[in-house]
Symmetry: C2
Subunit: 433 residues, 2 copies
C-alpha cells in the first residue's frame, strides 16, 4: 500500500489530537483511504514529549516541513493570521497540498490562498476550520451540490452558546463568562468568541461555498452577546422564543445578508434546542428543504476528525495520481459571482424591541404611530404592570419582518420621545420558514 | 465545458424530481461540477408528458439507456429488487457508472453489485437510498473517515416517526396509520414502513459503511411499531423518555448489533425531539464524539438532491478522466472484515417492562427475585393504584443495561407466574452514552 506523506505544523491542542488519532486509527484510516497516511515530519515551536513521536523527524522550525521534498500534504495548525498565511503560501509554492483548521486564515486570506493553489493545482482543505468535527463543509460543497441554497443559520461558537444556555437560568453574562473561562471553554481574551468574530469567520466561509461568492469577511456584520441580559432572554422565552447567537447567511435577489448577532428563534425549531458547547448548522436548499448538522464545534480530537477527513480526501487524490479536485469553495472559479454583500440597513428580519416608557396614557399610542409610519407591523406585545419602576414600565414588542433601516429609524424616533427612558433594546428574530 | 451524459431509468416521484432539479439548477450545478450534467436519455414504463422532456430521447424500454453508448452514468430509479438488480448489473457490464436511490437493492444485492462494479472500475453511488436528502452516507464514508465508529442510531423511516409523533396525543396506531395513508405519507401496504423492513435496509447500508463489513440485510433484527400502544408511550414519557422507531448499529468486541425496533430515548437527547416525517441519524465516533444529521427522509426533490449530489461526484471523476474512487462502502475491499452480526439474544440494552399483575402482597417480591436471579438491576419502577382493573394493576419497570437473553428468560418466568396476566410488554431503551 502506498504511503502519503504528511507534515504537521503546530502541535497545540488540534495538532496533538491529529497526531494521536492518526496513530490510534492508522490501520482503519488506511483501510478507508486506500493508502497509509504517514506522518513523515512534525514541526512545532514547543516540543510535545508527551505525544511519543518516536522516530518521526521533529523540528522547531515549521519551514523544515515545507523544505522536506518527501512531504505531500502540509497540515497547518499553528493558527493566527500572518505566520499561517506565509506558511501556507510557501507550502503551495512548493506544490504541496494543504489542510488547515484555521478559519481566520481562510476567511481573511482565502481568496489569495485559493488563487495561488489553483495555479499550482494543489488542494487546500479546511473542513476543520468550520464547526469543528461536523462535516458541514463537505455537506455544503458536495452533499447539497444540487441545491440553490436559500440561507443557512448556525450556532457556530460553542463558548457563546454555552454562555447563553447558562444565562437562561437568570445568571448574568459576566458571571457565566468567568465560569466558562475557569472551565477552559472561553479564552482569557474572550473577544473573538463573545463578540462574534470567530463566528463571522466561519459564516463567511460557509456563505461563500453556499452561494458561490468570494470570501468577504470584512463585509460581515457582527454583533456580540455581551450586552444581552437574562431579563430579555426570559421575556423572549415568554414570547415562545429562545435567544441564540447565530451566524446567518441569506441569498436575496438584491444581495447577500451576512450577519452574526443574538437572534430569537422559535422554541419549536430544533436549533433552538441545541444547548451547551455544541454547534449546529441549519441549511435551507431549494430542492432538499432544511437539513441540520449537529455536533462538537471544538476539542482536540473532534477537530482532528475533520483534519483527517480532509487528509483522506487529499490522500485518495494523491494516491490515485488523480487530477480530480472539488473546487475550493465548491464552485469552479468561473462560476463564482460578485453578488454583493448587503449592509445591515438592508437586512430583513423581525425584531424584539424593549422600550422603557412612562406608564401614562398616550405613550403606547405615540409608539404605535411611529412604528406604523415606518410600515412596521406588530406581531405581539407584552407589558407587565408588576414591573413598574420609577413610573416607567417595560413595553416589549415583537414585529413582523421588516427592513432594518426602518426599524432603526423608528427606534431613533421612539428614543427621542420625552416619555421614553434609556435606549431601546433591539434583538433580531428569525422564523426560518 | 464538457458534458457528462446521464441516462435516467424510471420517472416516478424521484425520477421526476431529479429531472426537474437538473433542469432548474442546471447552470448552478454545472458551476459546482465543472461540467454539464446533461440528461441525454430517459426511459420509463409510463411516459410523463407533464415533465416537458422536450428533445430528450425518451423510450419505454429502460434497456435503451444501457444500450446508448453515449451514456456515462445510469440513474436507476425504477425501485424494487429483481428488475433493478438486472438493470444495474447490465449497466455495470457496459462500463457505465450507476447512481441509485434503491435502498432495498443495495441492502440485499449490494455485495454482488459492488463486486461487479469493482471489476469494471465503475462507481455505484447510493446516497439517495439512505435518509432521502440528508447527505449521511457522505458523512459516514468521507466526513467521519478518521473515526472508529462505535455506534449509530437513526430515525430513518419518516412514516413511522410521523405515526409515533401522533400517537403521543393518545391516538391509537391503526387510526394514525389510516390518516398517514390518507395524507400520502404511508403506502397502501404499509408493512415495509411500519414493520421496519425499510429502516433495516437503510441501517444495513449505514452499518456496513460505518464498520467495514459486508452488507448482511438478512442478519438484521426487525421489530415494528404496530403493537405499540399510547398507554406505553405515555408511561415511557412519565419516566422521562420518548418512544422512537430507531435503527441501531453498534460495534462490539464480539460482534455487531444490527437492530430496528421501538426504543425509549431520553427526552433530553436531541434525537428524541425529532418529530413528524423527518429523519435524523446520530453517529458516535471515537475521535469526533457524537454528530447528528437531520432533514427530510423522503420526497421528490429532497431525494433528487441526493441523487444529483452523487451525479456531481461521478461527473467530477468522469470529467477529469480520473481513476479516483471513494470505495463503495467507504472501505477498500481488502479492509472489509467479517466481524459477525450478533443474534438478538446477544443485544445489550436497557428494557422497559410492563407487567399486568394481581394487586396482592408478595407479587412484587416474586418478580424482583426473578429479575435478580437473571442479574437484572432495576433503574426505576412505577405502579399506579388508580389503574387497578379486575384486581390487576400494571407494574412498569425500567432495567439497567443487560443482555437480552437474560431479559427474555426473566420474562418467560414472570409470564409463568399465576399472579401475572397477559404477556409482558417489552420495549428496549437506549441512553446513547
Amino acid at each position: 500500500m502506498k504511503d502519503v506523506n504528511i507534515g504537521i505544523c503546530g502541535l497545540g491542542t488540534v495538532g496533538g489530537g491529529t497526531w494521536e488519532v492518526l496513530q490510534r486509527n492508522a490501520r482503519l484510516i488506511a483501510g478507508r483511504a486506500g493508502c497509509n497516511l504517514k506522518v513523515a515530519r512534525v514541526a512545532s515551536r514547543r516540543p510535545r514529549p508527551d505525544l511519543g513521536l518516536g522516530d518521526t523527524p521533529f523540528s522547531t522550525d515549521i519551514y523544515d516541513v515545507i523544505r522536506d521534498p518527501s512531504i505531500d500534504v502540509v497540515v497547518e495548525l499553528i493558527g493566527g493570521y500572518d505566520e499561517a498565511r506565509a506558511l501556507v503560501l510557501a507550502a503551495i509554492a512548493e506544490g504541496k497540498h494543504v489542510v488547515t483548521a484555521n478559519k481566520a486564515l481562510i476567511a481573511v486570506y482565502g481568496n489569495e490562498i485559493f488563487n495561488a493553489a489553483r495555479e499550482k493545482n494543489v488542494i487546500v482543505a479546511y473542513e476543520a476550520g468550520v464547526a469543528g468535527g461536523i462535516p458541514v463543509m463537505k455537506a455544503i460543497r458536495e452533499g447539497l451540490a444540487a441545491n440553490r441554497i436559500n440561507w443557512l443559520a448556525g450556532i457556530i461558537n460553542g463558548t457563546g452558546n454555552y454562555i447563553l444556555t447558562e444565562m437562561r437560568a437568570g445568571r448574568a453574562f459576566d458571571e457565566v463568562l468567568k465560569e466558562a473561562q475557569d472551565l477552559g471553554y472561553a479564552e482569557a481574551d474572550p473577544t473573538f468568541d463573545v463578540e462574534g468574530t470567530d463566528a463571522a469567520h466561519k459564516l463567511t466561509i460557509m456563505a461563500s461555498a453556499a452561494f458561490g461568492v468570494p470570501l468577504q469577511f470584512d463585509r460581515a456584520y457582527t454583533e456580540g452577546i455581551s450586552r444581552l441580559t437574562p431579563y430579555d432572554i426570559s421575556h423572549a422565552e415568554a414570547l415562545g422564543y429562545r435567544v441564540k447567537h447565530l451566524g446567518i447567511a441569506r441569498s436575496r435577489e438584491d444581495g447577500i445578508e451576512l450577519r452574526v448577532h443574538p437572534t430569537l428563534v422559535p422554541e419549536g425549531n430544533l436549533i433552538a434546542k441545541v444547548d451547551g458547547v455544541t454547534n449546529a448548522i441549519l441549511v435551507d436548499g431549494d430542492a432538499v428543504g432544511q437539513t441540520m448538522y449537529h455536533g462538537p464545534g471544538a476539542g482536540d480530537e473532534a477537530t482532528a476528525s475533520s483534519v483527517i477527513a480532509d487528509l483522506v480526501d487529499v490522500a485518495r487524490v494523491v494516491a490515485s495520481g488523480s487530477d480530480q479536485r472539488v473546487p475550493y469553495l465548491g464552485f469552479e472559479s468561473e462560476a463564482v459571482t460578485d453578488h454583493q454583500i448587503l449592509s445591515a440597513d438592508e437586512f430583513r428580519s423581525a425584531y424584539y424591541l424593549r422600550i422603557q416608557a412612562l406608564d401614562k396614557p398616550g405613550v403606547l399610542a405615540k409608539i404605535a404611530a411611529i412604528l406604523s409610519d415606518q410600515g412596521i407591523n406588530i406581531e405581539s406585545i407584552m407589558q407587565k404592570e408588576s414591573e413598574l419602576h420609577d413610573g416607567h414600565i417595560p413595553l416589549i414588542l415583537l414585529t413582523h419582518t421588516v427592513l432594518e433601516k426602518q426599524v432603526n429609524k423608528a427606534i431613533s424616533e421612539i428614543e427621542a420621545l420625552p416619555e421614553v427612558e434609556d435606549q431601546v433594546v433591539r434583538i433580531r428574530a428569525e422564523n426560518f420558514l
